[in-house]
């Protein structure tokens, strides 16, 4: 079998995308290779199928490539619709996996490629590629055009309106000078933050749905926070200080930065659990006692956030405990004497997934 060479282009809407595809198509044709157009899709999990607009985007990109080189073989793929990804590293992982499976030898990156609506300078896949076994190059395209895209206008507009309303609501000015300063302030906010504040260009439908579901989520969270405080007060004021801490790495079934942040903060605000670190959708969670850990592993927080972002269909998923998506790192059974503990089976002491596992015995400080 003759091995064909492959050129891969990660696709995401940008002002230089079609130039990049044209360039990559020419490069692929020059080496008698095939062109792979792939797009990573964060945040569409309920149906486990890529959304229609992503497929349309890929279709359109393939037409651009075929418009340049007629008989070029173009493959398109939407990656990650059935798994949860968050953050540049996990997106890059999907792309690399695809590249390995499809004999790709060159990766050509759009100079203004960004994973989502965030400015590439803040959240760049190149920074991740640099540390990984993959060769990439930038497409040689003119990126001098500074005309804002439609998405930038929408995001900037939404930020501007929110900032202006906030200004008015907070200060309550009605005289013209204050309104004028409000407009100027809102404009500055809109221009500076158009590629920072949103992960995706807001759409009215999904924004309304999320707002409606917040009406359930916020009271739930407030109630859990109140419970957290009462339980915490009991634990702290109890003479024998009944705590039993655990540390677990938990893989949350949510994708995209916003939903991971929501889970992480919900965990921190609710009974006896605290998010220590986040790496993609893997959270490192400290639990003050076994009951709090049960809630966490039963998916109390995860379920609430899934409901908020993905709708009630998404709640039926079992919690991370039942799925086995967690890795104990420290806990009462993992007695810090080298892993030989009474319940050693319950805590396989190999939780070195996020960072260095905590050193076990020698330097364990015994608190006063």
């Amino acid at each position: 079998m003759v091995r064909v060479t492959g050129v891969l282009v990660p696709v995401n809407p940008s002002r230089t995308l079609s130039d990049t595809i044209t360039y990559a198509a020419r490069e692929a044709a020059a080496t008698d290779g095939e062109l792979h157009l792939v797009r990573t899709v964060p945040g569409h999990y309920v149906t486990e199928a890529p959304p229609a607009d992503v497929l349309a985007q890929l279709e359109e990109s393939a037409e651009v490539a075929n418009g340049e080189i007629d008989d070029l073989v173009v493959h398109t793929a939407a990656l990650g619709a059935d798994v949860y990804v968050s953050g540049p590293r996990e997106h890059a992982g999907l792309i690399i996996e695809y590249a390995e499976d499809h004999d790709v030898d060159r990766v050509i990156v759009d100079p203004s490629y960004s994973l989502d609506a965030t400015a590439p300078e803040l959240y760049s896949i190149e920074r991740v590629f640099r540390g990984l076994p993959i060769a990439y190059e930038h497409a040689l395209v003119e990126s001098s055009s500074r005309v804002p895209t439609r998405g930038e206008f929408i995001r900037g507009g939404v930020i501007g309106v929110i900032a202006f309303l906030f200004y008015i609501a907070l200060g309550g000015p009605t005289y013209p000078f204050a309104l004028a300063t409000g407009v100027v302030t809102a404009l500055i906010a809109a221009i500076l933050l158009r590629n920072v504040s949103f992960e995706s260009t807001p759409a009215i439908g999904s924004a309304l749905r999320i707002a409606a579901r917040s009406a359930v989520f916020v009271p739930f969270l407030l109630w859990e926070i109140t419970k957290a405080n009462v339980q915490f007060a009991y634990v702290v004021l109890h003479p024998s200080l009944p705590i039993d801490p655990y540390l677990d790495e938990v893989e949350m079934a949510v994708g995209s930065g916003l939903s991971v942040t929501a889970v992480a903060n919900a965990i921190t605000l609710t009974p006896g659990t605290l998010t220590v670190d986040a790496d993609g959708h893997h959270l490192l969670v400290h639990s003050l006692n076994g009951a709090a850990r049960e809630d966490l592993l039963d998916g109390l927080h995860e379920g609430a956030v899934r409901n908020l972002f993905y709708g009630s269909d998404a709640v039926e998923l079992s919690g991370p405990g039942e799925r086995g998506d967690y890795q104990p790192i420290a806990g009462p059974a993992a007695v810090t004497d080298g892993g030989e503990s009474i319940d050693g089976s319950e805590f396989p002491h190999d939780g070195e997934s996020i960072e260095d596992d905590l050193d076990s015995d020698a330097d364990t400080e015994v608190p006063e």
């Binding site: 957290a228 405080n229 702290v236 006896g272 400290h286 806990g331 905590l358 330097d363």
Partner: protein, 111 residues
């Protein structure tokens, strides 16, 4: 601003609850064994403590503008508190500070 018959006890009650939970937070920071569990104290009890104190202030002033400002204050406390906790514990974890567990306690008693 003259307080009506009902608001005074409510303001006092909210302020008292706020002070109680803030006190619990302080006691928690002192009593808990390590940086991770102390962060629980600093985030949780404080959140309700601040919430009730701000609610008491909003009730005391009672105007729409003050209530809105108080609500925004509470919202920002709820956003920033967990963020600060992540920052502190994450720094601690990356420095390799061990997590205190009841196993450590048993060891201590055994010695």
């Amino acid at each position: 601003m003259v307080l009506s018959g009902l608001t005074t006890p409510l303001v006092v009650l909210f302020a008292a609850i706020g002070v109680f939970f803030t006190l619990v937070a302080a006691v928690g920071v002192l009593r808990l064994p390590d940086v991770y569990s102390r962060s629980h104290a600093a985030t949780k009890a404080d959140t309700l403590g601040a919430g009730f104190s701000i609610a008491a202030a909003a009730l005391y002033f009672g105007t729409a503008g003050e209530i809105f400002r108080a609500a925004v204050l509470i919202l920002f406390v709820y956003y920033t508190n967990p963020t600060a906790a992540h920052a502190i514990t994450r720094a601690a974890y990356s420095q390799g500070i061990p997590v205190w567990t009841t196993g450590d306690d048993a060891q201590e008693e055994g010695q």
